[in-house]
């Protein structure tokens, strides 16, 4: 039974990952990401990590992918990518070689050299059963790791403030580069071209 659930979920996860990799439309890629994330959530349930399975569905499928879709729709970047052209020569073969290297290294290190999980479990955080998983996780988080939890609160605050600062609209047109700074650069005619063009595009977007 467990093996059947695992195989179904593994197929779901990997086909979703291939979908993200190969989808020409970013909206389709986001939906394939949801499929992959749901598969991982069911695997968490199989491992009796019930709290994390719920959080996985809520945070990933419910928040992160929705955020992706919002950005895709708001910016109108749901145009279809042309995957047939390869802008940098040799990029894809190199990526496949690097991927094979990562896969070979991790599988060799995990399964051949080490041969499985080693080390003793910590005494103060034994794994409970699925029923009291959330309770035990909360106890460990707010006793042993309470400082780290407060740091994550700070991290989330900084992230929200940073996002607001990044996407706020500037009043008026974009400022051109200072004249002396442009003149001191050796490649000044090339560097002013994209900046001026970018400024016009920005104004058009604001209007």
């Amino acid at each position: 039974m467990d093996a059947a659930v695992f195989i179904v979920c593994a197929v779901m996860v990997l086909s979703g990952a291939f979908g993200v990799l190969l989808a020409r439309n970013p909206v389709h890629a986001a939906l394939f990401l949801v499929q992959s994330v749901f598969g991982v959530a069911v695997l968490f349930l199989l491992l009796e990590a019930t709290f994390l399975a719920a959080v996985q569905v809520i945070v990933y499928a419910g928040a992160i992918v929705i955020l992706f879709l919002f950005v895709i729709m708001l910016l109108g970047v749901d145009r279809v990518d042309d995957l047939d052209v390869e802008p940098i020569a040799g990029q894809r073969p190199l990526a496949v070689v690097i991927g094979a290297g990562i896969l070979g290294t991790t599988l060799t290190a995990l399964l051949v050299v080490v041969g499985g999980p080693t080390g003793a479990p910590t005494a103060n955080a034994p794994l409970g059963d699925a029923g009291d998983n959330a309770k035990r996780l909360g106890e460990v988080l707010f006793t042993d790791h309470v400082f780290a939890v407060e740091l994550t609160a700070l991290l989330l605050t900084v992230a929200v403030v940073g996002a607001v600062v990044l996407v706020r609209r500037l009043r008026g047109p974009l400022q051109p580069l200072p004249a002396e700074a442009v003149a001191s650069k050796p490649e000044s005619p090339e560097s002013t071209g994209p900046d001026g063009e970018a400024g016009e595009v920005g104004q058009g977007g604001d209007a």
């Binding site: 399964l111 994550t152 991290l155």
Partner: protein, 101 residues
């Protein structure tokens, strides 16, 4: 047939590899972020399966923090993408080479 921890570790390694290859191949910054999410999911799966094998809750605690960092990373990353797309519509990762000094 018993599902051992090696199954989960293999699935995690394959998922991480797919995410890494996607990050290297795709040029749409949004799809590249999705590939980063795939890699984080692979690591989460590895954490939980190793914690299950060792009978230890620390793996799930690590996954909790990874989730928080992933959420913060996506918020800031999508903010950067919005700021760039507003200036250059349809920019790909290659167009950002104009940022070099």
């Amino acid at each position: 047939m018993e599902v051992t921890v090696a199954w989960y570790l293999t699935l995690g390694a394959v998922l991480f590899t797919l995410g890494a290859v996607g990050l290297l191949v795709r040029r749409n910054p949004l799809v590249m972020f999705m590939c980063v999410e795939l890699m984080l999911n692979a690591v989460n799966l590895t954490f939980v399966s190793l914690g299950d094998a060792l009978g230890d809750l620390s793996g799930q605690v690590s996954v909790f923090f990874v989730l928080v960092v992933a959420a913060a990373e996506i918020v800031v990353g999508l903010g950067i993408v919005v700021a760039i797309m507003r200036r250059r519509a349809g920019a790909t990762a290659d167009d950002l080479s104009v940022l070099r000094g």
